[in-house]
Subunit: 151 residues, 2 copies
DNA sequence: TTAAAAATTGCAACATAGTTGCAATTTACT
DNA sequence: AGTAAATTGCAACTATGTTGCAATTTTTAA
C-alpha cells in the first residue's frame, strides 16, 4: 500500500480502504482523465461497480478529483492538482476531448475566460470543452500521411 | 400541418413526415432547449422513442438543430437560428444550464471566446456551458425571501 | 394517376451508465 | 479488544441511447 496516497485520504478525512487507494493510484498514474467504464475494465474484477461509483462521487465532493463529461455524456475524472477543497474547486481550466481516441485532457495552462452573464442568471461554475484531435492522434495521422507520400 | 415547417424540411431535403413536423413545432415553441426524455413525455404516445432519436440525430446532422449535453450528460436540443448547414454549424454561443429547473438556455448574445490550443491539439468545435441558477429560478427565490422578510 | 424505388417508421431486443436498499464486512475510535 | 461508524458487495432497478428488420409512408418518375 502506498503511503503517500493513504496520507491524501487522511488529509480529506476519508477512511483508508483498498478500493480508494486503488482508484487513487490509477488516477495518479494517468496524464489524462479516466472514465468509470475504463476504471471498471481495469479493476472490475477486484472492486464492485457500485463501489467505484461511490468512490468517485465522494472524491469529487471532497475536491480530490474533478469530473468532466465527454462527448458521449460519460463522466470522466482527473485528480485536482490545484488546491481544491469541499468548499471551493479550482479547476477552471479548459478540457480537450479527442474525437479519435476519446481521451480527455486537462489543459491546466488554459484558464477559462470570465464572462458576464445576463441579468438574473447566477453562475456557479463553468465548463469549457474543446473537441478535436489530440497531440498523439495528430502525430500518428501525420506519420501515416508521410509514409504514404514516400511510396 | 404547418406550412412553414414543411418548407423548412424541404429546404434541408428531408421528407415531410408527421414525427418530424411534430418535433419541429415543439422546438419552435420553446425558448430553451429540450431533451429527448422531455420530448418523449410530450409526444411519446404518438411517436416511437426510436423515431424521436433518429429524428433528432438527423436534424442535428443537417444543421437544423444543435445538441448540448446537460449536467447529467443528457442530450438537449434547440433550433439553430443562425444559418447552419450540414457543413458548418454556427452555434458557438454559450449555454446556461440551470441546476434548479434543469433548463438549458442558449445565450446567443454570448459568443464563445477563441482560445489558442497547445501545439498539435487540433480543435474542431467547442462547448462552453455555465451551470447556475437561471432568471426564472432566481426571481422565484427572491420573491420567496421577500415574503419571508415581510412577516 | 399509378407503380416502383427510396426513405422513414415502429417494434422488439439489446447495450451502457448510473442509482438504491440492505445485509455483511471493514475501518476507526475508545 | 470491543463497539460504533463507515464502507463494501450484491441484487435489482432506472434511464438514455442503439441496432436489425419488417411494415408503412413518402418521393420519384413513368
Ligand atoms: Mn481537468
Ligand atoms: Mn444553443
Ligand atoms: Zn486522441
Ligand atoms: Zn431554472
Amino acid at each position: 500500500m502506498d503511503n503517500e496516497l493513504a496520507e491524501l485520504l487522511g488529509k480529506y478525512k476519508l477512511s483508508k480502504t483498498e478500493p480508494r487507494l486503488k482508484v487513487l493510484s490509477i488516477l495518479r498514474s494517468r496524464e489524462s482523465a479516466i472514465s468509470q467504464p475504463e476504471l471498471e475494465n481495469l479493476i472490475g474484477g477486484e472492486i464492485d461497480r457500485v463501489t467505484l461509483y461511490r468512490t468517485l462521487t465522494k472524491f469529487d465532493e471532497k475536491g480530490i478529483i474533478h469530473k468532466v463529461l465527454d462527448l458521449n455524456g460519460t463522466a470522466n475524472y482527473a485528480l485536482c492538482n490545484s488546491s481544491c477543497s469541499e468548499d471551493t474547486h479550482n479547476d477552471e481550466h479548459v478540457h480537450f476531448n479527442c474525437t479519435t481516441c476519446l481521451n480527455m485532457y486537462c489543459l491546466e495552462a488554459l484558464q477559462i475566460p470570465h464572462l458576464v452573464m445576463p441579468v438574473n442568471f447566477v453562475p456557479h461554475n463553468v465548463n469549457f470543452i474543446v473537441y478535436g484531435v489530440c497531440e498523439k492522434c495528430t502525430l500518428k495521422a501525420n506519420k501515416y500521411i508521410e509514409s504514404k507520400n514516400k511510396t
